[in-house]
Symmetry: C2
Subunit: 235 residues, 2 copies
Amino acid sequence: MRNCIIASTSTLHGSGPLEYLQEALNELFEGINEILFIPYARPGGISHDEYTIGVNNIFKKINKRIMGIHMFEDPLEAVKNAKGIYTGGGNTFLLVDQLYRKGVIEPLKEKILSGTPYLGTSAGSNICGLTMQTTNDMPIVYPPNFRTLGVFPFNINAHYLDPDPNSKHKGETRETRIKEFHNLNPQPVVGLREGSWLRIINEDIVLEGGLSARIFEQNKTPYEMNSGNSLSNLH
Amino acid sequence: MRNCIIASTSTLHGSGPLEYLQEALNELFEGINEILFIPYARPGGISHDEYTIGVNNIFKKINKRIMGIHMFEDPLEAVKNAKGIYTGGGNTFLLVDQLYRKGVIEPLKEKILSGTPYLGTSAGSNICGLTMQTTNDMPIVYPPNFRTLGVFPFNINAHYLDPDPNSKHKGETRETRIKEFHNLNPQPVVGLREGSWLRIINEDIVLEGGLSARIFEQNKTPYEMNSGNSLSNLH
């Protein structure tokens, strides 16, 4: 069982945090009043408390209360008892490092695979892939492992960006980076543009949000997949 | 003793590889006919042989021969006997992983610190900092460690990019990423723009190339340093 929204970003340019997802979140978290928030990714280095307060301010508009996992004595119990879970964005290395060090990786995986409603944005979406190896983030800490939850049998590249044809910059494009990844790793990568999300219900994985996604498979030319299509057979 | 060129990029938009560095390379490698090339970073996933042949084609114009480290039975002996060394760009995780697995990290560090002329571009520059944790690359492999050569007491951010004030993209800017790094790590970071390099001669570290660099120190507002200035006291 799975019941997830896996979003590229929390926030779209020109609108408030999670605003574009409000309808989808109402459906995902229907009947749930309290959501466990995992703030470990700490965007911009803000504290767990600051991050949690900000997210609570967003969710109270749809009449839900947020509890940060760091507010519990035992994070494993917090995960086990959660009715719904949200993992926010920030730095994926830091998030994965904390999930391992707190022992939360396996309980979180089991919880999501038992059908508990789960929202991931950015780093919180990356961790649902097989590994965190297609993150765009800086390796600011050394996590014990790059393996992540494997809620689906591919990887996510959040905030996917198309190459800028006018760029004079010689740093690698996102597409080149993913090609390098595929030289050493077999799993497909879903390049999720800002505004896209995956809606996962049990065996179904559907691309939502109106934009196409760019799909990278090893030894294949990358291709576009339109919104509304299924990724259930991608592995 | 140190004698290094630490460049942001091998190639500038609209000119050939290493073309903008030709004069500086003639001086760095003066009197040296054969240079040991470390191709482990494999840009775009090309093979060690392809990469080495391409670099040899560049260096033969200034009458130097390139030998790839992978062409030697014993990479440690190759490093010990090198008269000059060039580590090229590509993926920093892959480069660091290979340097550790081949046992080359310590010999390479000793060789550079004994004054052997060394050229680094991009990933080959990142590895001369204290850690590789301010790379822009994707973590396509899990290296045994993020610590690198520590040829100087700070980190490099190669291909440094200023925030685009017109961007609607919500992925982190380079500056935000480095701020996150400084939440957990103390060493300064030198944001080297494409076209900049550090010229290191013994105790002196001078910014070259006409552009300013952006300097990030923990708990300080980032600032610009002009070309021609010294970074010898940055630590």
